[in-house]
């Protein structure tokens, strides 16, 4: 499957066109979407027209930069003018966006071609993509399994070659979790860096926008376009020798599938061999992460849905409706405690970063779970899937630090494993440079 970087080289060498690569993606969608259910809306005609126009522009000497003519799929939580933003919910029936979300407008300006809108966990309120008005999206590595969530259709579309990149959103891990489950790169930039207007919110306190891509370089190219700087010189990798990473073990590595653990340790060994110094660091209040996250996220989501949960409760999927109802019982005093706790965690992540270039930990404690599974066995004990899926990612939505998921190998059953890197706030560029340096030593299998 071609990367954005490689497509750009071939496009400018006149070896391919945007129309050609767009048609390739649309053919993959025709062939595989019935099996994977990755798309809610395929925008074939619009995409071909966009691609032809961009080919004409390039032939006429107008080059919009690295995303010129690149087919991208978009999570159906973003407004694209003239299309419905369903949020994978019947609650949104009849919606038509009258404009683009800012992120979409910037991608359009950068020359992206929108091939369609992807499936997700209803209103992004879940980590498996099972609760969707359009049925579950499925994992290309094993369609009996979840592609992760909430941006599950996005990750599936990328991993199946239906787009060269995809846009996700992330409230507790919804970019990194599906990236991990489907074996792609996922980037959650620093909180607030990418505007979230025109995106249906889940929790405005924690919501982030960001891309899933095949490589770190591609993530950097999409990230620059999302900042409105599509022509910017891509970041150069930091020298790998001399890098300092802080590994989070206590709490974060307490509950891991054996194969995920083995791949994580293998990646750390390869990084050490390459000259990276790895120290152990701690987050003192790690056991408070989930309670802090829960009280804020539930209350935020319930406030946004307060009117529709009263007037059209039957239109929500049962599990999402239950979580929204649950959020209505969070007391204000506990919300305040959770906000204070979030500030404590932010300082602790800052301190753990200290003199390190990035933190490192696994992304997902388990390989992609079976669709319908409520629990998963770890070390002989049944653990709730939802809690396990969020365990290693939600901290950095609370604190706002930029974080990336990188593929780190596959289990014997062929399911991807993933490693997470976390950088300093407002230093997403620096995190990308660290990830570029580490990628060849981490990503052995895609």
């Amino acid at each position: 499957m071609m990367t954005i970087e490689e497509f750009g080289r071939r496009l400018r060498a006149r070896q391919t066109t945007s129309e050609q690569i767009t048609n390739d993606c649309l053919q993959r969608i025709d062939a595989d979407n019935p099996r994977l259910n990755a798309f809610i809306l395929v925008m074939a005609d619009e995409a071909r027209a966009q691609a032809r126009e961009l080919d004409r522009e390039l032939a006429g000497g107008k080059d919009r930069g690295p995303l010129h003519g690149v087919p991208i799929s978009i999570k159906d939580l973003y407004d694209i003018r003239g299309t419905a933003t369903t949020a994978a919910s019947r609650v949104r029936e009849g919606h038509v966006a009258d404009g683009d979300a800012t992120a979409i407008a910037r991608l359009r300006q950068a020359g992206a071609v929108f091939v369609g809108k992807t499936n997700l966990h209803e209103f992004a309120f879940g980590t498996t993509n099972e609760d969707s008005a359009f049925g579950p999206a499925r994992n290309p590595h094993d369609p009996a399994r979840s592609p992760g969530g909430s941006s599950g259709g996005s990750a599936a579309s990328l991993a199946a070659g239906m787009a060269l990149a995809t846009m996700g959103t992330c409230t507790g891990g919804s970019i990194r979790i599906p990236a991990a489950a489907c074996g792609t790169v996922g980037l959650k930039p620093t909180f607030g860096e990418i505007p979230t207007d025109g995106i249906v919110p889940l929790s405005r306190t924690f919501d982030h926008a960001g891309p899933l891509t095949q490589t770190v370089t591609d993530a950097a190219l999409v990230y620059d376009a999302l900042l409105g700087e599509p022509g910017k010189t891509p970041p150069a990798p930091m020298p790998v020798r001399g890098l300092r990473l802080g590994v989070l073990r206590s709490y974060f590595c307490d509950l891991l599938d054996d194969e995920v653990r083995a791949h994580f340790e293998g990646a750390l060994d390869r990084l050490r061999t390459a000259g990276v110094t790895i120290d152990e660091v701690e987050i003192r209040h790690a056991t408070d992460i989930a309670p802090i996250y829960l009280h804020i996220q539930l209350a935020d989501a319930s406030a946004y849905h307060a009117a529709t949960i009263e007037t059209m409760p039957e239109k929500y999927t049962p599990a999402v409706r239950q979580r929204l109802e649950l959020g209505r019982y969070v007391l204000a005093e506990d919300y305040v405690r959770a906000r204070a706790g979030g500030e404590v965690l932010r300082r602790e992540v800052d301190a753990a970063l200290g003199t390190h270039d990035a933190l490192v930990l696994p992304t997902l404690p388990i390989p992609a779970p079976l669709i319908g599974a409520e629990t998963v066995q770890i070390a002989g004990k049944a653990e709730p899937v939802r809690t396990v899926m969020l365990r290693l990612t939600q901290l950095f939505n609370i604190t706002g630090h930029p974080a990336m998921a990188l593929p780190s190998g596959k289990t014997r059953a062929g399911l991807p494993c993933s490693l997470q890197l976390v950088g300093n706030r407002m230093a997403t560029d620096a995190l990308l440079r660290v990830a570029l340096a580490c990628e060849p030593h981490i990503s052995q299998v895609r």
């Binding site: 408070d288 404590v344 301190a351």
Partner: protein
């Protein structure tokens, strides 16, 4: 409101509203709330209460010991172990 009475009231309210399936979720939320309330960062008006750990520790000169600062590393004896 203490957590036990909150949980009792919440379950009763959910049942009254025809949502008895919320009971296990409310019980899980109550466990999370207990953990949250027990955390040492919570503020309190109690005279015996120590200030919460939401602010960076202070150096002898009263300045904040920012993460990674040489003063803080000296005070903490190094924030990490190899």
């Amino acid at each position: 409101m203490n957590i036990d009475s909150w949980l009792q009231a919440a379950i009763a309210d959910a049942e009254r509203r025809g949502l008895p399936e919320l009971k296990p979720l409310l019980e899980a939320l109550a466990r999370a709330t207990k953990t949250l309330r027990a955390a040492d960062f919570n503020d309190s008006a109690a005279p015996s209460h120590q200030p919460p750990a939401t602010r960076p520790p202070l150096a002898d000169d009263g300045s904040e010991l920012r993460p990674g600062s040489p003063k803080r590393q000296r005070r903490e004896g190094g924030s990490h172990r190899s």
